[in-house]
């Protein structure tokens, strides 16, 4: 029952969209089209991502992650999480579960937030897209300016959450 309750709002939404199509209600049809576009992306991409996360969870030992991107990993660790993030794809909400698994395996707070920043702004698949639409100069400048900013955010979050028993939870 509780499970069904969680689906109540999405189901109502889908019924409304269905009715819009039935009665040729243009606004509803357009919203439905938008939704389908987003949903398609999510349903193609997220299961793949979550399988990767699951495999990561069972295979990668905590000690290894902790050593490379943990508390005392320094600049090398920062570089490593940025590299990891830039190779991925998809919208930021896809990165939250990965951030959770990194955290669970001993990644430092700073690197978790640097990972999120890099994931959001400088993913390589996205950058190629950006260059196509806005030009190389724009892309390069934006990347160079954004990079130090989210590293700083990582340091800030680490400092802010230092004594606060912060943890990344599994939803």
């Amino acid at each position: 029952m509780k499970k069904l309750k969680k689906y109540f709002a999405p189901i109502v939404f889908l019924i409304l969209i269905g009715l819009s199509y039935l009665f040729d209600f243009a606004a509803g049809e357009k919203i439905g089209l938008n939704f389908w576009m987003f949903f398609k992306e999510m349903i193609l991409f997220l299961p793949v991502m979550f399988i990767l996360i699951g495999l990561f969870d069972v295979w990668v030992p905590r000690e290894r992650i902790e050593k490379h991107i943990g508390k005392d990993s320094g600049w090398k660790g920062t570089g490593l999480v940025i590299l990891l993030a830039t190779l991925q794809a998809g919208p930021l909400y896809g990165a939250f579960p990965f951030a959770y698994i990194l955290w669970k395996k001993g990644c430092s707070i700073r690197n978790v937030f640097i990972y999120l920043g890099a994931f959001a702004t400088i993913k390589i698949p996205m950058i190629t897209f950006e260059i196509g639409f806005l030009g190389l100069k724009f892309s390069l400048l934006r990347t160079l300016i954004t990079l130090p900013v989210f590293i700083l955010i990582g340091y800030f979050m680490e400092w802010y959450l230092k004594d606060k028993d912060f943890e990344v939870k599994q939803p």
Partner: protein, 156 residues
Amino acid sequence: MKLLSVITALFLFFSLMADRRKTWNGIVKGMTMFLKLLPMLMLMLALVSIVLFLIPNETLVNYMGKGSGVKGWFTAAALGSIALIPGFIAYPLCGILIKSGVAYSIIVVFITTLMMTGFLTLPVEAKFFGWKVSLIRNLISLAAALFIGFIMGFFL
């Protein structure tokens, strides 16, 4: 997307070769997480679709176009912060905006907030980081986006 699928397929293959049970455990773990998030994600996507419908491209150009000044910055930051929108939608839109005369620094604010801050996605984010930390991350990212736009303004 393609890269991610290829990498996952490779990992899956080697994982299956090495240990079937472990692989299965991993897949179940991942999928359980996915199914737990799914209703929330669907709701969020529904809201984003509605917002996107309510704000057509012409309106964006109107508010952020030439001579929009502070209003343009404010609009870019506010609209960009509503949701996390994937690049494949954001970039074509920004291409249109640039052609319609929107300044580069405003585009940067728009893109950065689109990608880094999402107030509609907060409930999803809060499930992982808690409300307070999620809110702080979003607010800092918003400030960072404005800063990045400001700096970009000197170059482009």
